[in-house]
């Protein structure tokens, strides 16, 4: 946001600057590379001369030009001696030769080159033009892009001059694009040239190119307009696709959050049939565990900060798992087979846990920091992807598959499935069903805790954290099909993506409402969810 705004400002300044400079340069006809004339102009102590000198410096292509202009901007450009010469005032007041940056042989009395507002504008302009020929390719490219965006005809000669000297293909293409952008709307060029420009801009394929193409003048030849229309259509299709892809990405990101929140519930509700309304609070406890871990690290082991989440994950799992076992042993085991009563009792527990956290940590949001490896972002095509979100998706999938593996491959997983399918048979085969119940509930709660560690990175860590997830989590589990982990995965991702695809049309809140309504209708159509088990056993 701010960076693009900065770019625009730069572009505006750059354009007016280039126009000014061009005028100056035409009068001056300065020899490229030779800036001595310009330097001597700086010693006249006249604003007009200073301005002309700046113009010459900007177009000189001299490697020293940039340093001189910035010294002038900083008030470090001084002149003095006989004949008057220009120096740059170095650190500690040492006088440096502006061309070599070596200390000057003598040290005459000096005074700074004066600057007024007009000169200051000329400085900015010179800086802009200098970036087009800056030795840094990145800066040249940025300047070219800025010119392209500004599309000021006055910048064309400077641009063409820079283009003639440019060797870096990336920068060259940016400059070509900038030139084409200007040409599209320029008066008095042939239709063929204009079409070439249209095609060049069209190939760029982004939002800016679209705006440029839309500005083809009404007076342009029909074939030009035709070419522009084709290019616009192509870009729009392309952009719509990328926009869709971006929304799908956001959706997957939301889906992974939903998956994290719901996956523990898929165990307690899906496998055990226990309605745990305190599930959201388990997530919340996991987030607070992260907070405590980070506090300890901040005060005692600051070097470990980047590892704070890795430390928090097992701790959160153990802590919330333990709380889960405690809840199962003291409350839920007395309520098996009474789903609605379980719902009420666990709601009560959720109130108690919320209030406990509020009492201990206060009602306000707590700050949980992001380790360095989770910040930052990168781009793929027109997609912008933040590392934090990417990690959360990866993490959600890891947790999902770890859980799947636990259920499929481990002894406790086998026992859990056995108890779910036929409690009495399992008991008679020597499985301690009570213990399995407690472990299953503990596992579901522990996973909620792990989810809390991840969610602490993207949500406010407050006592109400869990409340915002509980309804969504239940909808995900029910939508995906109770008792089916894959259903939970698909359900979470579907709801996440659907939500984000709805948002552009309906807005965030209405999109959410629409989704709730859709899920409500869906559940009524298929009460057992997407991946329902079919068969007569389901009815009993």
């Amino acid at each position: 946001m701010t960076s693009s705004a900065r770019l625009f400002r730069l572009a505006r300044v750059l354009c007016s600057a280039l126009a000014l400079l061009l005028a100056a340069a035409l009068v001056q006809r300065a020899e490229a590379q030779d800036i001595s004339a310009a330097l001597s102009q700086l010693t006249t102590n006249k604003y007009d001369d200073t301005e002309a000198a700046l113009g010459a410096l900007a177009l000189s292509g001299s490697p020293a030009a940039a340093g001189i202009v910035s010294a002038l901007a900083d008030g470090k450009l001084v002149f003095g001696g006989l004949p008057p010469r220009v120096f740059i005032e170095g650190p500690g007041g040492a006088l440096l030769d502006p061309l070599t940056m070596q200390p000057a042989a003598d040290a005459p009395a000096v005074k700074p080159v004066r600057v007024n507002n007009r000169v200051r504008r000329a400085i900015e302009a010179a800086n802009g033009a200098l970036s087009l020929v800056s030795p840094d390719a990145g800066k040249r490219r940025e300047a070219a892009l800025a010119v392209g965006r500004s599309r000021d005809e006055a910048a064309l000669p400077a641009l063409e001059m820079a283009l003639a000297k440019e060797s870096d293909p990336k920068v060259k293409s940016a400059m070509n694009l900038a030139r084409a952008s200007i040409l599209i709307a320029k008066e008095g060029i042939t239709p063929a040239e204009r079409i070439a420009a249209v095609e060049l801009v069209g190939a760029e394929g982004n939002q800016d190119a679209l705006a440029i193409l839309r500005s083809v003048p009404e007076s342009a030849a029909p074939e030009v307009k035709q070419a522009a229309a084709v290019a616009i259509e192509g870009i729009e299709r392309n952009l719509a696709m990328w926009g869709m892809a971006q929304n799908v990405w956001y959706g997957l990101s939301l889906g992974s959050v939903l998956l994290l929140a719901a996956i523990g519930l898929a165990i307690t509700f899906g496998v055990m049939g226990v309605i745990n309304m305190a599930h959201g609070e388990m997530v919340m406890l996991g987030a607070y565990t992260t907070f405590v871990v980070q506090e300890v690290i901040r005060t005692s082991y600051p070097g470990l900060f980047d590892a704070s989440l890795l430390i928090a994950i097992p701790l959160a799992f153990l802590f919330t798992g333990l709380i889960g076992v405690l809840i199962e042993r003291t409350v839920i085991r007395f309520l098996y087979g009474r789903a609605l009563e379980t719902l009420l009792a666990t709601w009560g527990i959720s109130l108690i846990l919320q209030q406990a956290i509020r009492t201990i940590f206060g009602p306000t949001n707590r700050e949980v920091g992001a380790p360095s490896w989770m910040s930052g972002s990168f781009e793929i095509g027109h997609l912008s992807i933040t590392s934090g979100r990417l990690w959360i998706i990866v993490f959600a999938l890891l947790v999902f598959f770890a859980l799947l593996a636990t259920l499929r491959l481990t002894r406790i997983g086998l026992e859990m499935r056995a108890v779910t399918q036929n409690r009495r048979m399992a008991a008679s085969m020597g499985i301690r069903t009570n213990w399995v119940d407690a472990m299953t509930f503990g596992l579901g709660s522990g996973i909620a805790g792990i989810a809390g560690v991840a969610l602490s990175q993207i949500d406010n860590v407050s006592p109400n954290l869990g409340q915002s997830y509980i309804i969504d989590s239940f909808l995900v589990v029910v939508f995906g099909g109770v008792g089916n982990l894959w259903g939970t995965l698909v359900g979470a991702m579907t709801l996440g993506v659907a939500n984000k695809l709805l948002e552009p049309y309906a807005g965030a809140v209405l999109g959410k409402i629409a989704l709730l309504v859709i899920v409500i209708l869906f559940i009524q159509k298929r009460p057992r969810g997407l991946f329902a088990l079919k068969g007569r056993s389901i009815e009993t």
């Binding site: 009474r338 009563e341 009420l344 709601w347 209030q355 709730l516 559940i523 009460p527």
Partner: protein, 382 residues
């Protein structure tokens, strides 16, 4: 002969309940108006309104008990019907403000002027007329229940699934009513009411009248529920609760029975909401919050599900406790207590106060075979 003693329309506890209600409806106004303000028995006006609020909560609890206790529908969205009734009344009260609002617009409520709206949205038409608003108090919740129930019951969504989608329903409404452009005052809701049917809403007389009306509504609501549950219709309801499949195979459309009960219940909740709003002076979207709806369930659970009287009793008891504890130094502990109440009632008092009392009485009169109450004992388990 197949004539068997039908339980009376009003059993002993029903008569006691109505008698207590009647005494309160007479005594509270008398003590408010005629007892000296400094005497111990004087009932200050704010207490009258507080009691009135409890009574509307009791009516709300009654509406929950009708569907939860007798049909087994645990609605976690009953608060939505209450709030819709409340909003219908609130819209009437808003229109009554007229030019006395901050902006003095004769038609538009303040919040619309503030949002720079130029004309009244169509769904606000008619709310300046009390009979229309009163009709909407019934129709708005009734229609929502009809549409929602029609979909839900027809596709046989039952048990916790139904509970979860009712919760999603009220959550969706919560989000919707928070939006300013919904036209219901957004976050702040509707407030700053001036008068109702021409009477100043702050006046003692108005407050007493609202209290008496609340008592009347609760009494009539109780009689209506009682009449319903002991009719043939009500017996089918209990049959649906206990063995829905059997009911279908017996030729009844279980979904229609549920739907009728659900709509009646929603309308009762709407009436409760409509009486609640003028007594507390505000209605805002938080009434739609899922937590509110679940709290109603615990009132009913405490009093005794499937007993009607218990629901009303539970609502008054829990809310009295809430008022008592949240106003003092114990305030931070109220949520611990409420949470504990949920756990304790489900674990130790699954039939609630009145249900447990019935059981105890039933045991005592084992020899005496008059089946007075309950019509249908609530099942201990789901």
């Amino acid at each position: 002969m197949s004539m068997t003693r039908q339980p009376a329309l009003l059993g002993t506890s029903g008569l006691i309940f109505l008698a207590v209600l009647f005494v309160a409806a007479v005594l509270v106004p008398v003590l408010n108006l005629y007892a000296a303000p400094d005497s111990a028995v004087h009932v200050p006006t704010y207490v009258v309104s507080l009691l009135g609020k409890y009574l509307t909560y009791a009516l709300l609890a009654l509406s929950v008990d009708l569907i939860w206790g007798y049909v087994g529908i645990l609605s976690l969205g009953q608060g939505a019907f209450f709030a819709l009734g409340g909003y219908a009344m609130g819209m009437y009260l808003m229109r009554q403000i007229g030019t006395r609002g901050v902006y003095g617009d004769p038609v538009l409520p303040d919040f619309m002027v503030f949002l720079n709206w130029k004309e009244l949205p169509w769904f606000w038409y008619g709310f300046d007329m009390f009979p229309f608003a009163a009709l909407m108090v019934l129709l708005a919740p009734g229609l929502l229940a009809l549409v929602f129930g029609w979909f839900a019951f027809r596709s046989r969504v039952t048990g916790v699934y139904l509970s979860i989608i009712t919760q999603a329903m009220t959550f969706a409404l919560l989000l919707a009513f928070f939006r300013n452009d919904m036209g219901f005052g957004g976050n702040n809701g509707l407030t700053d009411f001036k008068d109702i049917l021409g009477f100043n809403i702050q006046a003692d007389g108005t407050r007493l009248t609202l209290f008496v009306l609340s008592a009347l509504a609760l009494g009539l609501g109780y009689i209506l529920c009682r009449f319903l549950v002991r009719s043939h219709f009500g017996k089918v309801l209990v049959a649906v609760r206990d063995a829905e499949t059997r009911v279908r195979f017996t030729g009844y459309r279980a979904e229609n029975y549920k739907l009728v009960a659900f709509v009646v219940s929603a309308m009762l909740a709407g009436i409760a909401g409509a009486l609640y709003v003028p007594q507390v002076g505000i209605i805002n979207p938080s009434e739609f919050s899922p937590a509110n709806s679940i709290e109603i369930i615990v009132w009913v659970a405490v009093g005794g599900r499937g007993t009607l009287v218990g629901a009303a009793l539970g609502a008054v008891l829990v809310n009295y406790a809430k008022t008592y504890f949240t106003s003092g130094m114990l305030a931070p502990y109220w949520l611990f207590m409420l949470g504990g109440l949920f756990v304790a009632v489900t674990l130790f008092l699954p039939k609630g106060i009145v249900g447990t009392y019935y059981d105890w009485r039933e045991k005592r009169r084992q020899h005496d075979d008059i089946p007075d109450e309950p019509l249908a004992t609530p099942r201990p388990a789901e």
